[in-house]
C-alpha cells in the first residue's frame, strides 16, 4: 500500500526498508474499516487532537495565568487571562452571565443564548480593545456580533445546571463536592457551545496566523478554547462560592483535574468529513500506520507489562463511568469486562501483537477490538509521536485540478479506487432517502427526506457515491484521449468531483465507503469517529444523530503545566479523587 513520503521516511528510520515491508503488510484493508460502524467503533488514540495539544502544552510548559476574575453571587462577571504558549503569547477574556434557569444543550439553533462567552486574542490587547470585545460578546443579535482579526475565536459555553449547583452549594458549605455525583454527570460543569473561529464573525483565518503558531495545527485553536472553558468553569464555581460565603472552600485540585468540558455534536460533522476527505485520509493513514507498527512488534516482557498497565486503567475507567444512553454503543461496563478478559489473555501465546490483536478481533465486538488497538499504539509512543507530525502537513492539500489529465487516465483512477462506489446500486429510493440541509434556526444542519422536505436543491454535499457515479457516466460520453479540462469546460459543476478523485488518488484511506444518504445510515457512527479523532475517550449517542462526550477530563491543571508534569493523563477517574479526598482536609 502506498504511503506518503514523510511517513515512509519515518517508518524506515525506525525499522529499515525490510522492516517497513512487514509493517506495511499489516496495514488494514480500507474496504474493511472505512465504513460507518467500524469507524464509529474507533477510539481516541495517542495522536488524537486533544492528546496532541496536551502534549505540546506539557512539553512547552504553557503558562495559563489568571490576571483577574470577578463575579457576583449569581455568576455575573468577567475574567482575563494571559497564556504563554511556547514562543507565542495569547490572552483570553471571558464574560460569564447570570444563569437564566434554562439548560442549553449547545445547539447551533440556540444562537447567542449562552451562559458564558470567551475570546482568545493573539498577543495582549490594550484596555480599549478588551472593552470593545466585551461589548461584542455581550450582544444579543448573533447576526451583528463581530470580532476582529486579532481574535482567533470565541468560546461560547453553557452550564450543566444540576452539577454546577451541586459544586457551588458544596463549596459554599465549606466542603468539597461529591465525586460520585460529578462522575454520574460525566464530569463537567460547562458545556461547549461551539468554537467560533477560523474566520467566523471576523476572527482571524487560520492561514493568516504566524508560521509555527500552535493554532495553525488542525483543531488546536478549537480545543484550546475548551481548555480555557474548563479553567473558567473551575474559577467560576470558586468565585461564585466566595461571593456567597467569604469562607467558602475552593475546589480541590484532585477534583478540578477530573472536570472536563461537556460536548454534544450533531450530524453536521458528517458533512465536514465528506467535504474534507483529505483530513480523513491523513488521520486514518497516521492511525493505521501506528497500529500496523504496534502489531508488527514482537510480544516481549516490557511491552506486555506496559499493555497490562494500560488495560488495568482502561478497565477501571470504563467500570467507573455512567453514560447517559447506551442504546447505540457497547455498554461501558461490558467494555470494562471485555478488557479485563483480554488482560487475562496476556502471556497465552502469540509471537507478535498482531496475532494477539487478531485473536481479540475475532472473539470480541468492534469497540472492544478498537479499544485494544488504541492501547497497543500507546505501547509504542515514540513511533506514534514521530508520525503525528504528518497530521498537520497531510491535511493541507492542493485541491487544484490537474487539467491535462486525460479522461482515460481519470477513468483508470476511478476503476482502481472507486470500484466500491461504481458498483453500489442506487436504484431503490431507500438508497437516496436523505439529504442534509441548513435550517433557518441559525443554520443548524438537519437531515430531511427527499420529495417530502423542502430545499433539496440546497443540500449540503454529502453524496460522494452519487457524485462518483455521475462523473463516471459523464466521462464515458467522452473519448479517452480528451483532457479533463475539456470536460470541465462543458460541465463546470464536475470540477469538484474530478479534483477530489485526482488529489486523493494515492490515499488508501481517502473515502468513507458507506452510503451516507441511505435510509438506514446512522450519522452517530461518523460523529463518534470524529469525536474520537478529536480526543474524547468515551462517546455516548443520545440518538442516531447526536453524540455526547467530555473533553479534557484529567488534563493537568495550569499550575501543574507550568511546573512540568507527566504527559500521561489518560483514563482519569473520579474514584481516585474520592480516595485522595478521604485522606485530606476540605
Amino acid at each position: 500500500m502506498w504511503l506518503p513520503a514523510p511517513l515512509k521516511a519515518i517508518l524506515e528510520s525506525f525499522v529499515g526498508i525490510e522492516g517497513s515491508r512487514d509493517v506495511l503488510d499489516r496495514l488494514r484493508d480500507p474496504g474493511e474499516i472505512m465504513n460507518g460502524p467500524r469507524m464509529g467503533a474507533m477510539k481516541s488514540m495517542r495522536m488524537s487532537f486533544a492528546q496532541l495539544l496536551a502534549r505540546r502544552m506539557i512539553d512547552e510548559r504553557w503558562a495559563i495565568k489568571r490576571q483577574w476574575f470577578e463575579c457576583d453571587e449569581e455568576g455575573d462577571g468577567r475574567g482575563f487571562y494571559i497564556i504563554e504558549a511556547g514562543e507565542f503569547v495569547l490572552s483570553y477574556v471571558v464574560r460569564c452571565f447570570r444563569w437564566d434557569g434554562i439548560e442549553k444543550v449547545g445547539r447551533r439553533s440556540d444562537g447567542v443564548k449562552r451562559d458564558m462567552f470567551g475570546a482568545i486574542f493573539l498577543g495582549i490587547p490594550d484596555e480599549s480593545r478588551i472593552a470593545r470585545e466585551f461589548a461584542s460578546i455581550e450582544g444579543t443579535d448573533v447576526d451583528s456580533m463581530r470580532t476582529e482579526a486579532d481574535v482567533t475565536g470565541w468560546t461560547p459555553a453553557s452550564r450543566s445546571a444540576r452539577f454546577f449547583d451541586h459544586v457551588v452549594d458544596s463549596l459554599v458549605a465549606g466542603v468539597q463536592p461529591d465525586p460520585a455525583i460529578l462522575s454520574a454527570g460525566a464530569g463537567y460543569l460547562l458545556r461547549n457551545g461551539g468554537y467560533l473561529g477560523s474566520g467566523r464573525q471576523g476572527s482571524v483565518s487560520i492561514a493568516g496566523l504566524p508560521d509555527g503558531h500552535p493554532f495553525r495545527h488542525p483543531y488546536f485553536g478549537d480545543l484550546f478554547g475548551l481548555v480555557m472553558v474548563r479553567q473558567v468553569s473551575i474559577d467560576l464555581v470558586n468565585a461564585i462560592a466566595a461571593a456567597r460565603n467569604p469562607r467558602a472552600a475552593k475546589l480541590a485540585p484532585d477534583i478540578a483535574r477530573n472536570l472536563g468540558v461537556g460536548n454534544s455534536s450533531g450530524q453536521g460533522m458528517c458533512v465536514a468529513l465528506q467535504r474534507w476527505p483529505e483530513w480523513v485520509a491523513t488521520w486514518m493513514a497516521v492511525r493505521e500506520l501506528a497500529l500496523a507498527f504496534a502489531t508488527s512488534r514482537p510480544i516481549d516482557d516490557a511491552s506486555t507489562l506496559r499493555l497490562s498497565g494500560l488495560l488495568d486503567r482502561a478497565v477501571a475507567y470504563f467500570s467507573s463511568i455512567e453514560l447517559p444512553c447506551e442504546d447505540y454503543v457497547v455498554p461501558a461496563k461490558t467494555l470494562s469486562c471485555n478488557l479485563a478478559q483480554i488482560k487475562a489473555m496476556l502471556g497465552t501465546g502469540g509471537r507478535t501483537w498482531g496475532e494477539f490483536a487478531d485473536r481479540v478481533d475475532s472473539a470480541y465486538d468492534a469497540e472492544t477490538a478498537e479499544q485494544l488497538n488504541s492501547l497497543l499504539v500507546e505501547v509504542y509512543p515514540d513511533f506514534a509521536d514521530a508520525i503525528s507530525a504528518y497530521i498537520q502537513t497531510g491535511a493541507i492539500r492542493d485541491r487544484d485540478l490537474t487539467p491535462e489529465m486525460s479522461v482515460g487516465e481519470l477513468r483508470d483512477i476511478l476503476r482502481r479506487n472507486y470500484d466500491w462506489a461504481l458498483r453500489y446500486d442506487m436504484r431503490q429510493s431507500k438508497t437516496r432517502q436523505h439529504f442534509w440541509y441548513h435550517s433557518i434556526d441559525n443554520g443548524e444542519q438537519r437531515r430531511g427526506e427527499r420529495i417530502i422536505d423542502p430545499h433539496e436543491e440546497f443540500e449540503s454535499f454529502i453524496d460522494h457515491i452519487g457524485l462518483i457515479q455521475r462523473l463516471a457516466c459523464v466521462l464515458i460520453s467522452y473519448d479517452d484521449a480528451i483532457s479533463v479540462a475539456e470536460v470541465v469546460a462543458d460541465e463546470p459543476d464536475l470540477s469538484y468531483g474530478i479534483a477530489r478523485v485526482q488529489y486523493l488518488a494515492n490515499d488508501a484511506y481517502a473515502e468513507i465507503r458507506d452510503n451516507l444518504i441511505h435510509r438506514d445510515f446512522l450519522p452517530a457512527h461518523l460523529i463518534r469517529f470524529f469525536l474520537g479523532i478529536l480526543g474524547i475517550e468515551s462517546t455516548s449517542p443520545l440518538s442516531i444523530r447526536y453524540v455526547r462526550g467530555v473533553f479534557f477530563q484529567g488534563l493537568p491543571l495550569p499550575e501543574e503545566l507550568a511546573a512540568g508534569c507527566d504527559d500521561d493523563w489518560k483514563f482519569q477517574i473520579f474514584d481516585e479523587s474520592r480516595d485522595k479526598l478521604r485522606g485530606s482536609a476540605a
Binding site: 477560523s198 440541509y437 463546470p492 469538484y496 468531483g497
Partner: protein, 277 residues
C-alpha cells in the same frame, strides 16, 4: 460603515451565497475563492455581486458554454453571457492544459461578464507555474469595483512568494507583451494582434488569455511601461488582518446565504440532532 471580514469567512459564507444565487455546488465551491481573492486584491467585488444580482442569477440558468478549438493551441469559448466566476476557472484549465502540453496556448472568451475576476484567474495559472497574460476590455455597462481598470493587459508571473503582477495600459505595454509572447510562441502572433485590436473597439466585453510554459518570461518582457501591482501581498495581508468590506455588502452576503436555509417547522426541528430520534 466598513467592517473587517475574514477571508475564510467570505469563502464559507460566500460559497453558500453563490448557491443562493442559483449556482450548483461544484461551481460555487470553485468560484468563491476567486471572489475572495479579488475582494482582497482590489475590493468591492461583493458589492459588484450585489449590484448585478439579477444578471448573475440569470447567468446561472443559461446554457453551458460552448468551446471550439480554433487552432491546435487556441480555444474560443462562447460564454453564453455567463459570469466569469463560473466559466473563468474552466477557461484557465484549458489554458493550463494547452500550455503544459504544447508550451503555449490561448483562450478567448466571448459573451461573458465579471471581468474584475481576471487578475484572480491569472493568479491560478501562475500558481500552476504558467505565465498568464490577459488582455481585456470591459463594455461601458459592465459593473465593477471602483478603480478597476476597464481595459488593460495583465501579466501574472509564477513566483515563490505568490504570483507577481504587471499591469499595462499603454500601447508600449501592449507592444512589449506582443513581442514577448511571439518570441516564445510565434504561432500566437495573429491571436495577440486580434486581442490588441479588440481593445480599441467599443461594444461587448472582450477577454483573451495567453499561457506560456516559460521560466524566462520575466527576463524576456520589457516591463518598463508596466505598473507592478502587489495583488499577492494584499491577499496575504487579507488573511492576516481581514478584508475591509462595506457593512451593507457583508450583510448582503449573509442574507443571500440564508436563502439556502430551509424554513423551520415541527417536522424540521425533529430532524435536528437532539432528541431520541
Amino acid at each position: 460603515m466598513t467592517v473587517s471580514a475574514a477571508m475564510s469567512e467570505i469563502v464559507r459564507v460566500g460559497g453558500w451565497a453563490l448557491r443562493g444565487l442559483g449556482y450548483q455546488f461544484g461551481v460555487a465551491e470553485r468560484g468563491i475563492p476567486f471572489i475572495a481573492w479579488a475582494e482582497a486584491a482590489h475590493g468591492q467585488v461583493i458589492r459588484s455581486l450585489r449590484l448585478t444580482e439579477e444578471s448573475t442569477t440569470a447567468s446561472a440558468r443559461r446554457p453551458a458554454p460552448q468551446r471550439r478549438l480554433e487552432s491546435e493551441t487556441s480555444w474560443l469559448v462562447d460564454g453564453h453571457d455567463k459570469h466569469l466566476l463560473e466559466i473563468g476557472p474552466p477557461a484557465i484549465d484549458l489554458l493550463t492544459m494547452g500550455s503544459r502540453k504544447s508550451g503555449y496556448s490561448s483562450v478567448r472568451i466571448s459573451n461573458m461578464f465579471g471581468l474584475f475576476l481576471v487578475p484572480a484567474l491569472c493568479s491560478v495559472a501562475a500558481r500552476r507555474k504558467i505565465v498568464a497574460i490577459a488582455i481585456y476590455r470591459s463594455a461601458d455597462d459592465e459593473q465593477g469595483p471602483d478603480g478597476f481598470l476597464r481595459s488593460a493587459a495583465i501579466v501574472a508571473l509564477p513566483a515563490s512568494a505568490g504570483p507577481a503582477f504587471l499591469v499595462g495600459t499603454t500601447s508600449r505595454s501592449e507592444d512589449a507583451i506582443e513581442t514577448a509572447i511571439t518570441d516564445v510562441a510565434p504561432a500566437l502572433a495573429d491571436t495577440v494582434r486580434a486581442a490588441r485590436a479588440q481593445l480599441k473597439e467599443r461594444g461587448a466585453n472582450s477577454l483573451h488569455f495567453f499561457g506560456l510554459n516559460d521560466d524566462n518570461f520575466s527576463d524576456r518582457i520589457d516591463n518598463g511601461d508596466f505598473r507592478v501591482v502587489d495583488y499577492s501581498q494584499r491577499v496575504l495581508e487579507a488573511y492576516r488582518r481581514g478584508v475591509p468590506v462595506d457593512d451593507q455588502d457583508l450583510t448582503y452576503l449573509y442574507n443571500v446565504e440564508k436563502r439556502t436555509w430551509a424554513p423551520t417547522s415541527e417536522r424540521s426541528r425533529s430532524q435536528a440532532g437532539y432528541g431520541k430520534f
